[in-house]
């Protein structure tokens, strides 16, 4: 999405609520709760970015969460598309209250969402050091990744190094670098002045 033209001005809303509709809140909460409960085939970001591009662009933010929630539940066999279709035709629209409670899971929600946590990432000695010039590989991966199109082929300078995380789809930590790009190198001679910083896994760089 970075750099695309034609989306117009940034529209802001005064006194915006956290959620505009009940189902937005529930799409978000169900996405998180089904993650905690191990009911999904894929994580939230991965599932959202796996939506087909036309659906993605035609959907609002929480519509994307809702669609990806459904995909992840169906993918894991937790629900079937047919039973969701059938139920959607007759359901009383609104939240469902259960008689059962799960205090242990409520405690987990507070621990995971609203409690101090350890700093993620592990020390990794990568191929590059702060100050090195690096170029983002030209590539078109089909699998989930975190390398925006607009930096591919562009050269920048490593601004931060030394920490690693597993790349999506991997369990092994891999060095991630914060790379500083000149706006002119990204967008051409008439670009604004200034710099852009982006975190990139080592596999994206040469």
């Amino acid at each position: 999405m970075g750099g695309m033209h034609g989306f117009g001005p940034v529209e802001r809303e005064a006194d915006e609520p956290v959620f505009h509709e009940w189902w937005e809140a529930h799409a978000a909460a169900l996405s998180l709760v089904t993650s905690f409960a191990g009911l999904r085939a894929s994580g939230i970001r991965q599932a959202i970015e796996s939506l087909d591009p036309a659906t993605y662009l035609a959907s609002s933010y929480y519509e994307r969460w809702a669609r990806s929630l459904e995909d992840a539940l169906v993918g894991a066999g937790t629900l079937t598309a047919a039973e969701i279709d059938d139920r959607a035709a007759t359901v009383a629209v609104g939240p469902t209250a259960s008689e059962d409670t799960n205090p242990g899971m409520v405690g987990l929600v507070h621990a995971v969402l609203d409690s101090p946590c350890a700093t993620s990432g592990v020390p990794v000695d990568g191929r590059f050091a702060v100050g090195d010039r690096v170029t983002v590989r030209r590539m078109a991966p089909a699998a989930h990744h975190r390398c925006p199109r607009y930096v591919r082929g562009v050269t920048g300078v490593v601004a931060r190094a030394g920490t690693g995380w597993p790349h999506p789809g991997s369990d092994e930590p891999e060095a991630v670098y914060t790379v500083r790009f000149a706006m002119r190198d990204l967008w051409g001679h008439d670009a604004e002045a200034g710099h852009l910083y982006l975190d990139l896994w080592e596999r994206y760089l040469t």
Binding site: E21, L73, I84, P116
Partner: protein
């Protein structure tokens, strides 16, 4: 939509969310108190006031500021804050020479424990597409003109790090206490769309 005073018609996505929730509850896979706990956390507890407390502390306490810039996750933990989407928080210091602004072009990554869930404009295609290409123009539209002699640094937080801006302490606030500084800090200051 909130600008309407009558309820929106039932949409297909609304029906599907209702169906999914009903099925998960009936199968005994989830309980509604857990769903409610998530919603209440972000509607009532975790929001930009959290980040404003962090900023105010950093403005009055130089040692805290240094710890915050060295390891944001650990330093906000000192104030009892942290959680999902804040596991590796990096705090970006504005200065008279530098202005930082944060965007996520891939989804809408955002430091939830200090800012809550992101506003619609942050998630909009317009902000996500333009903030990396013409940040000065976007900021000017939003009411913040960054002087030409100030370097703009855009941070596209598309991987594991989540970013928050530590704004400049406003001139003339030297006499204010930490609690009095908190209300001066807005969400826009901490995203970098205000200076």
């Amino acid at each position: 939509m909130s600008e309407h005073h009558h309820p929106s018609p039932v949409s297909p996505v609304e029906r599907r969310v209702a169906a999914i929730e009903a099925l998960l509850v009936e199968k005994g896979l989830i309980t509604s108190d857990v769903v409610d706990a998530v919603i209440e956390t972000y509607e009532h507890d975790v929001g930009p006031l959290r980040g404003a407390r962090v900023v105010a502390r950093a403005w009055v306490d130089g040692d805290y500021r240094a710890r915050l810039l060295a390891d944001g996750t650990r330093a906000v933990g000192e104030l009892g804050l942290g959680g999902a989407e804040g596991e590796h928080l990096v705090v970006l210091e504005n200065s008279p020479e530098v202005h930082n602004v944060v965007v996520c072009t891939l989804c809408s990554c955002y430091p939830w424990p200090v800012l809550g869930l992101p506003p619609r404009w942050y998630k909009s295609f317009a902000y996500r597409s333009r903030a990396v290409r013409e940040p000065r123009a976007v900021l000017a539209e939003m009411g913040t003109t960054v002087p030409d002699d100030v370097e703009v640094r855009v941070w596209d937080s598309s991987a594991e790090v989540r970013y928050m801006v530590l704004p400049l302490r406003p001139a003339g606030t030297e006499g204010l206490a930490e609690d009095e500084l908190v209300p001066l800090v807005t969400r826009d200051h901490m995203i970098g769309t205000a200076r």
